[in-house]
Structure formats: structure tokens, C-alpha cells
Amino acid sequence: MTTHLEQELEHIKSKMFEMADLAIESIVTSVQALKNSDTKLAEEVLRDDSLLDNLEVEIDNECIRILVMRQPAAVHLRFVLSMLKINTDLERIGDLSSNIANETIGLNGRPPLKPLVDIPRMAEIAVGMIRDVFTAFTERDAGLARAVIARDRDIDTLNMQVYRELFTYMAENARSISQALGLIMVSKALERIGDHVTNIAERAIYYIEGIDIRHAEE
């Protein structure tokens, strides 16, 4: 028998998935816009960010209501606490995608300094991590969540690679500094997105196993 509480938790979960889809879309779209110097597409990312903001507030309110009125315990409590935190991570991912979009808007139609290779790859890894972390959440697969955390290193490595490459550009040509700094900012945003997905994976493990692995497996 499904209790009223379980029905309500399912409802929150579906909203969280909606948020995850929007976060993925914001990453894909912002990097696509950068790659193609598509200002219009970048503006769409900024516009759609409010959808994530609204869902964040909605989920927060719903979680508070459930804490007060349903007084969840054990796995149900861990679920609500995880949702409250994952919520913030997804909203931050939206903000970071907006930062990337702003970079494109700043370029004002000019092509990026160089053809983008590593940055789209970083975005691809981040998107894959988000998809997998939510599969881990749904299937209560802590192993998969741990694998997601491990993949954050790939993003970090690519980020360092991007830095090194852009430092070379800047050293060789002072006029490229402004654009190179822009791309460094984009790379940093993607690296931060990886960190947020790692946080989500940690919350998923907390939900599944009831243990807090933050800071422990670094």
C-alpha cells in the first residue's frame, strides 16, 4: 500500500527530475550557444533559468510542508533532507550555465578564440554525470553514485588542460587575454558544475545508505 506520504514524496521526486532535465538543458544549450556564437540561444538560457529558480522554491516549500505535516522518519526523512540539498545544487548549476551564456553574449557574435574541444567534452561528462546520478537515486544504486563522484576527476583534468592551453594563448598574444579569460571562466563554471553533481551524488548515497561521505573520500 502506498501511503499519502509516499505519494507526496513521489511528487517531489518528479519535480526534482523536471529540475534535473532543465539543468541538463541549460548546460547543453549554453555550451552550444558558445560554440556557435549564438547570442539568441544564450539569451534563452538566461530566460529559462527562472524555471529552475521557481522549482527550487516550490520543492523547498513542499519539503518544509512534509517535514512539518508528515514528520517523515528513516529513509523518508533522508529522502526529504537530500531533496532540500540537491535542490540547491541544481539551481546553482542553472546559475553557472547562465554565466556561460553571459560569456557568449559578451562575445556579441564573434567566434570564440579557438575551436572548442575540451569545453564541450567537459559539458558532455557533466551531463552524463547528472543523468547517472539521478538513475542512481531512482534505483537506489549507491555504487553508481560513487562512480559518478569518480568521474568528476575527468572534468578537473580537462579544466587544467584548458587552463594550460589558454595560458599559452595569452603568453603568445596579449590581445587574446580578454577572450582567453572568458573561456577560463567557462571552463571554471563547468568544473564547478562537476562539483555540484558530486554533491548530488553524495546526497544520493546519504539517501540510499544513510551515511555521510562528504569530505571522507577525498
Binding site: 501511503t3 518544509i64 512539518v68 505535516m69 508528515r70
Partner: protein, 251 residues
Amino acid sequence: MAEKIRADNLTFYYGNTPAIKKVSLSVKENTVLALIGPSGCGKSTFLRCVNRMNDIIPNTRMEGNLLIDGESVYGARYNVTGLRRRVGMVFQKSNPFPKSIFENIAYGLRINGIRDRYEIESTVEKSLKSTALWDEVKDRLAESAIGLSGGQQQRLCIARTIAVQPEVILMDEPASALDPISTQKIEELIQDLKKNYTIIIVTHNMQQAARVSDETAFFYLGDLIEVNSTEKMFTRPEMEMTENYITGKFG
């Protein structure tokens, strides 16, 4: 949602002592109102004003008014038997009749003039199903209701109440004598029942009030201190006294 019940300046005296003072509140249809407050605050007195259960207590009187569907239930020519049919009640201690499980529910139907055996059987089944008791008792309907567990007895009493299709159900601490699992079943049941009924529940357990109700009314020494949506009441109550009570500072 339409207003189902309204109290206007309701004061109820035991002798010369008012147990509730000038209480005004309104209950919307298909919602659950929880009444909370320390012992002796008047919440049960208020509950019993709704179906005029206080009428039978000697040396009492009432001022103000109580309306159901806009009509005063204290009108001079108001049919009290009809009122009790519209407003069912479940008590703290389950009180099944010393009869079979089937008869516990069929009895109320018969005294309401229903004779058709098929109708009685189907109503018994429907009532037991809607209280999630059917699967537990369907093979022993002829057995005495006294043999059921406390939680089952209480759900049987709720089934008995809803068999006669009331509009309002009053519950006076319906789960206070039950174990946690039975309590949870009753609470789930209340959530299901509000789709078809308007419910007022008195509870000593604040957490239970938060779990089952849409609105909560806090009584203290006969005064209605605050009535608000349950979510608001338990997150940011308007009155300091409510805050103090629900955070355990007194009572």
C-alpha cells in the same frame, strides 16, 4: 470550498463556568480541522457542541450559534436525531456493540429503515473496505467484534459511523489508546475520508494534528487563541501563545 460548519460567538457553560468563550470559527467542506490545546481548554466541549452531545449534560447552557450548511443546529425545531445522523462521532475508546462484526455496521442501517439484505451487505462491505478493514475481517464477519484488536475495533467504529453516510465526522482522540501502527492506519484513513466527509478531530498529540489536518485551532482556557492553516500554524504561528504551546514551553 464551501463552508460546512460555522461557530458564531459560541459560549458553553457548565453551571456558571464557561468552558468555551465566544468561539468563532469556520470549517470548510472536505477538510480536516484539528483542535489542540492543554487538558481542560475546551476542545472536547467544542466538538460536542457540533452534534449537540452536550444537550444531555444537566445544568449546562449555550450562547451564540452553531451552523451546518448555513442552518443553525440549535434552532427550536431542529431535528436532533437527524443531526446525529448527519454528524457521526468516533470516541477515544473504541465502543463496538457486543455483536458480530457484520451486525455492528448493519445495525445502524436497520434503525435507519434499510431492510434490503443486498443493500445492507453491500454497504457493510463498502464501509469495511473504506476503512481498510475488509481484507482483515472478510472471512469472519459473523464473529464477535470484541475479538478484534484495539486498532481494528476503532476502524470498525469508523466503518459503523460512515455506513449511515454522515456529512461530518467528529473524532475525540481516536488514536490515543492505540499502538503506533494502528495510529498510522487511522491517520491514513482520516486522509482518505476527507475526500467525502468534513472532519473535526480533537487530539492531545500535536504531531498528529500536524499530520492529519488542513486547519488547526488552538484553544487555551476556553478561548480560541488561533485558528490557521496547519502548515502555517506549525511553521509561523501568528500568536506568541501558540508558538509557546507548540514548542512545548507550556501545557
